[in-house]
Amino acid sequence: MSRRIDTDVAVIGGGLVGSSAALALRGMGLSVALLDKGFCGAQASGVNYGGVRRQARPPEQLPLSQRAHAIWPRLKALIGSDGEFLRSGHLKLARDEADMASLEAYAISVSSFGLDLELVGHNQLRERFGINGDVVGGSFCPGDGHANPRLVATGFAAAARRAGAEVLENTPVTGIARTSDGFAIEAAGGVTLTARTVINSAGAWADQFARDVGEPVPLIRTYPSMVVTEPLAPFLGVNIGMEGGGIYARQVARGNFIVGGARATALDDPDFSRPGSDGVLGIMRRASGLFAELRHAHAIRFWSGTEGTMPDRNPVIGPSSTTPGLVHAFGFSGAGFQISLGVGEVLAELVRDGRSSTPIDAFAIDRFKTTSHDGDARP
């Protein structure tokens, strides 16, 4: 059974980046084929923690993050579901004075971006947020929040489909060749495509496509560990993180408490992973130390997924430096959920206009170009 599709844009990878780009491109009237090797939104986009935060991002990500920030409240209109998005605020906690000092330094360094960060002391943590653990203070970003990644990621792909994108699931791309006026793509199931433009939004699998066009990138795979409790009475109204890492947590409207803060390990098939016992026991212990409400709670479910991570923790976004018509967007390093919605729009602009109205120079793929002989990547 073979099938031939001629399209303006072929998007490889139906995660949040690829499917939000597909939806934006459809909005511009371009024809789009969205290909995924499995199911759209089933990898990092759908199985991440669900933090919708600008706070703690490096300054170079903030223009893009602000662009995404404006899209999140419009989800219902955009994809037909609010994705359980809750503008709860994001509270980054400091364990000690040194951590508090770095939160203060961060607040100063990003003061021009309009995040409205508010530094709060220990007493306020207790009074305003009900946090009694061993923390000295925190930094609160009132406009941040959290959402349900499973709904948002799948929702964008479904919306792109409704908007007329050709969505091909379980269709891994097996070959891409440059032609005189674009690309010829071969995919599983006898699918062949011609496209003027290709977007490589293949997440943790994107490095193979970059390598094929002579742009190797030092992408590694990381796997988060998430723990979910049974529904509990509401006790945590904000999305919390910890300076220096170790724990992040939120409570959803239904009452389930979701907490992460350790890596999981890959299975024999490295496309799949599972949280390890030590990791989750550590997460549960740290969370119990912070919230007395968890003392009698049960963990009903863990989850993990596959994320593509770059050594400098910044994504790759922008045109290929070797192949005209190819645009990369991957490597969001475990922090792509919030920002992806802006990335989709930027990618659509790059395809249509050849340029982005939001600065993305810091994410150029050629920053990994090596001049030395040993092939070491330099951030």
Binding site: F39, G41, A42, G46, G80, R150, L151, T154, G155, A158, R161, T229, E230, L267, D268, R274, P275, G276, S277, D278, V280, L281, M284, A287, S288, L294, R295, H296, A297, H298, A299, I300, R301, F302, W303, S304
Partner: protein, 466 residues
Amino acid sequence: MSERAQPLIVGAGPAGIRAAMALVAAGLLPVVVDEAPHCGGQIYRQPPVDDGRDARARYGSEAAKASRLHRDFAALTERIDYRPQSLLWNLRDGVADLARDGVNHRVSFDGLILATGATDRVLPIPGWTLPGVFTLGGAQIALKAQGCAIGSRVVFVGSGPLLYLVAWQYQQAGVTVAAVLDSAPLAAKFNLVRGLPLAPPIVLRGMRMAAELRLRGTAIHFGVESVRIEGTTRVEAVVFQSGRGGRRLACDGIGYGLNLRSETQLADLAGCAFRYDPRDRAQLPVRDSSGRSSIPGVYLAGDSARIAGADAAECGGERAALALLEDRGLPHDRAQAIALEAELRKVDRLRDVLEAAFPYPSHWADDIADDTLLCRCEEISAGEARQAIKDFSLTELNRLKAVSRVGMGRCQGRVCGTAAAELLARETKRDIASVGRLRAQPPIKPIAFSMLSDDETSERQHEPAH
């Protein structure tokens, strides 16, 4: 060179007990993990404290088998590492995590025999979550282990040999059994004639039970459809269609079940390959006639990989242990292995007959009303699941879970997974074999957030006493 780790047996029911015996007989010292406080599994479950009833009162015709297994296992206790009341919640690369009394214990093992048994299979019907509705297995355990009935005027609904067995046991215990509502037509029971030469005592006993039920005033309705359980705060009546018309029976307890389903989560965590089994209408871990799974060193015994009942579980447990011994290069009784496999094949033929006589009413899933609860943990109705399937063009069970939360709650799909798969297959007009299966993740059952790890407790023990 460190000593080779011992094998791990999960489950101390008939399969686990026989497996442990065979390993001990070969000089091994297996770890035996079981969630229950006492051995026996669900079928030969023992009371938490002695309640004065003897084995005959508790297990009826199966008393001799139950007593022998309990006795045999008791004789092993010095030679096995027995971990009762322990939940094996995670499994990987020769290491298992066991939760017991709020403490996590880590056990290394070499060789794994999964004898995790089965639980009731149900399809949602209106009112199935009302207080007073129990699964057939749950109703039986209440009686067997606790000496309690689920009501004073009880109706049993569903399909399977257990339907008649539990009804009969309740009647014997002096409970008013108002009716047995069998989803299968009476004609299906003629299949039992084929089963007579295979296992005369079993088939005859079943027929005698049905006759005794009738004789003592319990109505038996066949070909029952459109069952609805009514009540405001608890069960008050059951309404159903049978033959010519509709009926309503007042009752205060309902036992409901549609045969059993295998407990396969640990096989999944162990990496075993699964395939669709038409007889059980389920995705099951693959095992060969010896009980070997697709993963070297992992063996599947008893109902854990296909429903075959307690007698087969005893054979399968011992057979799997012999396979483990052979794979470990230890002496094993080849003739016994052959005899056990012959016995298992015989039971397998009987299961074909029983499945024909007590068929699973898969068509019940055709008309699960939109307002019927599909997933009780996450409170997702059939209508919400249908909507998600439509909105997101879903074709695969894990995707349905991801967007609708069906199967995401406390039971991790062990209760609703069957119905969710049926619903997805129907809505997408696909074969049930092609909609996939819910992937297992640890913890396979809920674990306490406050759980300590055993190294922490040993640190505590080292603290000076004051």
